[in-house]
Symmetry: C2
Subunit: 215 residues, 2 copies
């Protein structure tokens, strides 16, 4: 199975995607896997919201319809990041393969690498941002949602957090080879703010889930 411009990773069967990931080629890699984890998290949030809406017992719960819609949109956005991450990485590899025979060629290559590396940092940064949104929705469903689906909401939070941290790894690894210090500083600052939010959200969700899952 060849994956290229004509074939999206997310159009592969799950078995094929896993085989493609396991192959000893650099892409798809951890960035795409993290994005898929984020999409799984968003899908689970949508599921719990839908398992609550319309149930007599939960008829007075408000705001879950909005959660379901937002979660489905986030699922789609993160699904796109699965392929975008892989494409950004391939573009970076292509830039690295540019000729560097003359000073001019070398200059052009360096510029292309910097440009491609920025793009390769932007995709996981976007994943990190979206993962924080998923966690916010996960908190709503574990607090207000159908208690029979509490473990599903809990797993949504776990996968959203893993997607976030995977995204952060991938941003950082790309930042390390960038020379634009202004850009780096801005990204590091944003990452710090996102990490703070994520820590608060995961703590809160874990507390609720642990309280409701007792043996």
């Amino acid at each position: 199975m060849e994956v290229g411009w004509y074939m999206k990773l997310v159009d592969l069967r799950v078995t094929e995607f896993l085989a493609e990931l396991a192959r000893g080629s650099p892409s798809p890699g951890g960035g795409s896997a993290s994005a898929l984890a984020g999409a799984l998290a968003a899908a689970l949030v949508a599921m719990v919201a839908d398992l609550t809406l319309g149930k007599e017992r939960y008829k007075d719960v408000e705001g879950l319809k909005g959660v379901s819609t937002k979660a489905v949109c986030l699922k789609t956005k993160m699904m796109c990041l699965v392929d975008e991450d892989s494409q950004a990485f391939d573009a970076l590899l292509a830039a690295l393969r540019l000729p560097q025979g003359s000073a001019e060629a070398k200059g052009k290559r360096d510029a292309e690498i910097q440009q491609a590396t920025k793009m390769a940092a932007e995709v996981p940064l976007e994943l990190a941002r979206r993962s924080v949104e998923v966690l916010k929705l996960a908190e709503v469903v574990v607090r207000k949602g159908n208690v029979n689906a509490i473990s599903d909401g809990g797993v949504a939070a776990l996968l959203g957090e893993a997607a976030f941290r995977g995204g952060v790894y991938n941003v950082k690894i790309n930042l390390s080879s960038l020379t634009d210090e202004t850009y780096k500083k801005a990204v590091v600052q944003e990452l710090g703010a996102l990490e703070e939010q994520m820590a608060i959200l995961t703590n809160r969700v874990t507390q609720v889930v642990d309280q409701r899952i007792r043996t």
Copy 2:
């Protein structure tokens, strides 16, 4: 897209799997999503091992061939758990729908529910066990593997940990409705031991990855 005995979840396209997960039906749910996260983790370990093997710079590194083989097997095992979790849950729902008109029917229903709940606990317990194995392999690849793939090894560990904790949620939720105290005690004990191992492994892997990913 109807998923049933004739159609495995892992044979769905990634997009279809996500849509199936997001639907407001109780299965597939967090258990299957956790198992898929585990399979993604195992696939990434295999990828990093293969990106190391055969590279001149890493020709003296030993034991990675074994890691690659083991990781691919774990990927397959966890992929099976995606469908098994969903099937175990469906069997439990079927038991809950059994008639309870007479005392005899009620007794039969209770027994079936207990049996199905045990099975629904066994699948995520197996996932938790396998996730610990994935983390052990992830530790090898982040320590000895191709440093260019450090973030991929890091993501493998994150997803393996999320799969583990998702499995634990699903074991616990099922244990809470079991009456066989001997079985429950044994499982709680095993979970405790696995949680201890997992905490040590994730700490160690995170340290190595954080050290190697610097901005």
